[in-house]
Subunit: 107 residues, 2 copies
DNA sequence: TATTGGTATGAAAAATGTTTCATATCATAT
DNA sequence: ATATGATATGAAACATTTTTCATACCAATA
């Protein structure tokens, strides 16, 4: 069974490796939003959110839908909920207290 | 149910968002290896592999084990196999032919 | 202790990714 | 056709990550 890790994967994980995009994901969990709403909610520029949304849409982690004259984005829960659950499980099992992102005392 | 996305997650996904590290993961799937073996197999410097392994170990996606005078690294299959299976499913469902990483014809 | 095989580390260089800014686009309504 | 509200885009500025290079470390042995 081959997943072609080195090909598609880095690209997919990269989409989720950025705080801004994760914040967008977190917000979209509450329901669909358009770019303007997201940027206001997160206090970031419309342009920045738009750029970052592209990365999420390209991977289909977020799906766009035209609604009247606006464009709303909604989360691909089918993929993301199990994904985050998995990470959550992993953290609880393998990263006890605080799995420090930087500067662990030693390897 | 809160997973604390914006906190730990970017860090975890970042570990898997790099081709070199994914290649390491792919190799370790075949079995445990030490740094020297990995670097030779991938044709990369020992230092580079070592640096990249740190990122994987910090997240506990790869676990180190002392074996005599060498140090072998083995994959945390419990987390990674389901993770990649999930991505594989996602790609098959949402990214038909070739979910181009760059330059999709349009959003 | 000196040597050897194996490994980690810090810092600079190189490569990538992110944000900003100004502007273009697009759909709808007037 | 023009105006409006909403959104996308390219390119430069800025920031972060990755790789390289030189060197230090560590455990075991002679």
């Amino acid at each position: 069974m081959k997943y072609g890790l080195s090909e598609a994967c880095p690209f997919f994980f990269a989409a989720l490796s950025n705080p801004t995009r994760l914040a967008v994901v977190e917000l979209l969990r509450e329901g669909p939003r358009n770019v303007t709403q997201i940027s206001k909610a997160l206090g970031q520029s419309q342009s920045m959110i738009s750029h970052n949304l592209q990365a999420l849409v390209r991977c289909r982690f977020v799906l766009p839908e035209r609604r009247w004259k606006e464009r709303v984005y909604f989360l691909n829960r089918e993929t993301l909920e199990p994904l985050f659950k998995l990470v959550d499980c992993h953290v609880q099992t393998y990263c006890p207290k605080k799995c420090s992102p930087r500067k662990p005392s030693r390897g």
